[in-house]
Point group: C2
Chain length 474, copies 2
């Protein structure tokens, strides 16, 4: 029967079918190697109509379809489940940049286009596509939109959702919706594209998208500031937004212990400022004028912040190399944490005004569950997004690590309860995938979960698109 | 039976019931006096639970519910149909500003809050709520969100949709969804609020919303420039975005005949520039620094534009009074058109890069239908949005006006066909309402219309919320 299925599959569409066990293996396991599934094959259609034909084939044969972009997701949303009665859909052969329109400030690309190639196509036209994240060398545009990716410039340019003007989507019944419009205003009915953005491939396959471009900044400037506490970081954000307005493109908080961890594990690294502080802020501005103007604005901001007592020390990068060194501390954090040992990670968001209060309350809650736990906090505070990671007490032995693993759920729940109490979100940018399906259900109202389930049922009554992700199986 | 219905209605919720014919009359007819409907009563609940109770009552009695904000819409979406078996829902008694959080840059208000009062509450907290449109003194936040309102600063801050972070919604089955989160990042499932924004009250009643605030600009600057053609206006937009980046907050195109019409009908008005040109552009910048900086940036922009030959004359306002005089020309356009006589109005959007080409092609198409027609073009070109209005030939008599009225549909269709051929939208910011239900269906793919109808059916199977608007009756 498996053989007959394969024959039928190959005939169903134009494109490549990968069934070889070794070639298939990297697509069955996620990036963090936490989930491994099984599939009949990975298929790479060549055209939208072929995706549609494949989808119809899946519907007819009751085979699930698991879309996979760069397979860089962190919540197990990009690998198949273990039923084995499934296909992995890759748009690797549908990666064309279809059109760049500099006067409309739009770019249209197929869903399989790698994010970096979209950024580069925009740059060649003298424009900026601002979506930027660690995985940009391998993640795809369709994956970014399906997961509503965030990254480091959300503060200024928004999430992937905010950057999207139009979509082409293959629906679970095999119909193609061409909604590839590059319009800033279009009030002709329900904004259907919003349903597919952030739906993690459970409602439709995004085969192409039209996204917004922006002018390229004339100069970028980086500063690293020591602040006396998290509350001061929030005040510094307000001051920076008032002084720099939309020129403020990144505002990252890093706790003192997190900076110390990087300095310990990264050879040759040194702190940009002499002062040891409980928190640091990494700021970036994108200036429409020039470097001198950007520097003057940053200096004025820091002078005002010193005066207000919300910054105790600051360094402004005087070269691209120095700017890169500042950012390296931020980017090296996950690696330093890995070197330090296991930890329990959280990707949460809060009203920005409550970040200081949250850090105090969550810290106390964690200590109650795991006395002596070390907490490493960093994140995109300009968006209210914290990566809040808990490590075993200093000098822990293997036994202590085992104990931490055993209480992982209790630790997370303690943190999530504080998040929920402050009207925050337990998944800011990483999504739901398979990791958080049941956890999310515990923190949303039944009426909201019911709406989601009914929409899933409406679009995908057979449950063939990424089943068990975002919404639990019916 | 009508009496029994009224008794039952009064008992169904806490709030005011208006049944008096004279008091009801202004709510039955739209702002432009094109549509008049009938209703049992206008009701003004006091709390969200009362809205929910009312909705349940409507469902039980098979009575339609027509939500009405400031009744300032232009497409007949805010008045009841003529069945008479309906209730008008007003949130006039639910107009509180619930919370302003300057550090989170958010404001939460009830749906009946008048837009101007939301702007003022933001200003009192030292922040900007940037949604701004002609009707802001009477339109409501729930109406703005339900219609995804646009206005004059969309170029910088986006439409109402882009300004919304969270909603509280009463669903057609009487359940309340509290989605009032003030988060910039929240990837915990389908972004349900997007369904209700721009749905014109057909899927749910928006009873409260959390919206984004921004820093207030330190200075605003206005310029008025003469350009040799519409293509140059588009080039000027690109240059202005490159020079001013996000400081460019408005970019309005006005055709030469449109400016002449205003100057003719507005006593004491004079053109800001000496040069007579086929097109003019009104630009506004919002500067984070000060007036001197804003002026210097505008002067540099205009110098570069002169050099490129895309601007032939320009004036930069040197006082608030002068800036107001520039804007008055733009704002007086609808009134000048009314004084000139009847005209056929269109609210369309296009890829910005195709605006010049569109104006040429649409002009030719209109002349074929109505030789000698005068065309008045103006609009938010920074968003690709044109108000494209057709008037009878100069010196037309009553007979010619009758002829124009008779061919109104043909004129619109000629224009819409050009719009559709350029992948534009036939309703940019005014919405669908009852005016454009069938027209929109002719310009959207069947798969898209079917998705809309199925979503309406899913949320409102009894068809009680604003029936016949956006989606045709099932």
């Amino acid at each position: 029967m498996a053989h007959a299925l394969s024959e039928s599959l190959r005939a169903a569409f134009q494109g490549r079918v990968i069934e070889d066990r070794d070639a298939l293996a990297p697509h069955l396991t996620d990036y963090r190697k936490r989930w491994t599934g099984r599939s009949i094959a990975l298929v790479q259609p060549e055209r939208t109509e072929d995706v549609a034909a494949l989808v119809r084939w899946c519907g007819e044969h009751g085979v699930s379809l698991f879309p996979q972009g760069g397979n860089t997701g962190l919540v197990g949303g990009s690998v198949p489940d273990d039923s084995g009665h499934s296909i992995i859909l890759s748009l690797a052969r549908m990666n064309a940049i279809v059109d760049v329109d500099p006067y409309n400030n739009t770019l249209t690309a197929q869903g399989g286009a790698v994010l970096a190639s979209v950024q580069e196509a925009a740059a060649r036209a003298g424009r900026l596509f601002p979506l930027s994240l660690g995985a940009e060398g391998s993640c795809t545009l369709a994956g970014n939109l399906s997961t509503n990716a965030g990254g480091i410039q959300v503060l200024r340019y928004g999430n992937a959702r905010d950057l999207c003007l139009g979509l082409e989507v293959v629906l679970p019944d095999g119909q193609v919706w061409n909604g590839l419009r590059g319009l800033r205003k279009d009030n002709t009915g329900y904004d259907l594209k919003q349903l597919f953005i952030g739906a993690e491939g459970t409602l439709g396959i995004i085969t192409a998208a039209t996204v917004k471009l922006f002018p390229r900044p004339a100069a970028q400037m980086t500063a690293f500031a020591a602040v006396p506490d998290a509350h001061s970081a929030v005040k510094l954000l307000a001051l920076a937004q008032s002084c720099l307005s939309a020129s403020l493109t990144a505002f990252e908080l890093i706790s003192g212990p997190a900076v110390a961890l990087v300095l310990h594990h990264m050879p040759g690294a040194r702190s940009p400022v002499e002062t040891q502080a409980p928190y640091y802020v990494l700021l970036e501005s994108s200036d429409a004028e020039n470097e001198a103007h950007a520097t003057a604005r940053f200096e004025a901001l820091m002078a005002a912040a010193f005066e207000d007592g919300i910054v105790t020390d600051a360094a402004i990068a005087s070269s691209l190399a120095q700017s890169a060194a500042f950012w390296k501390i931020r980017h090296h954090l996950p690696e330093a944490q890995t070197a330090d040992g296991e930890n329990v990670k959280h990707d949460i968001s809060l009203p920005i005004s409550r970040i200081g209060e949250f850090i105090d309350a969550a810290g106390a809650a964690v200590q109650r569950v795991l006395p002596g736990a070390r907490i490493f906090v960093f994140g995109h505070v300009g968006d209210g997004n914290l990566h809040y990671n808990v490590s075993a007490p200093a000098g822990s032995d293997a036994e202590a690590y085992r104990a931490m693993r055993a209480s992982e759920k209790t630790i997370s729940q303690a943190i999530y309860d504080v998040v929920a109490g402050m009207n925050g979100s337990i998944s800011a940018e990483h999504g739901v995938g398979q990791l958080r399906v049941s956890t999310v259900a515990g923190y949303k109202q039944p009426v909201e979960m019911a709406m989601m389930a009914r929409i899933k049922q409406l679009f995908d009554p057979k449950g063939i698109f990424n089943p068990g992700r975002v919404v639990a199986r019916q």
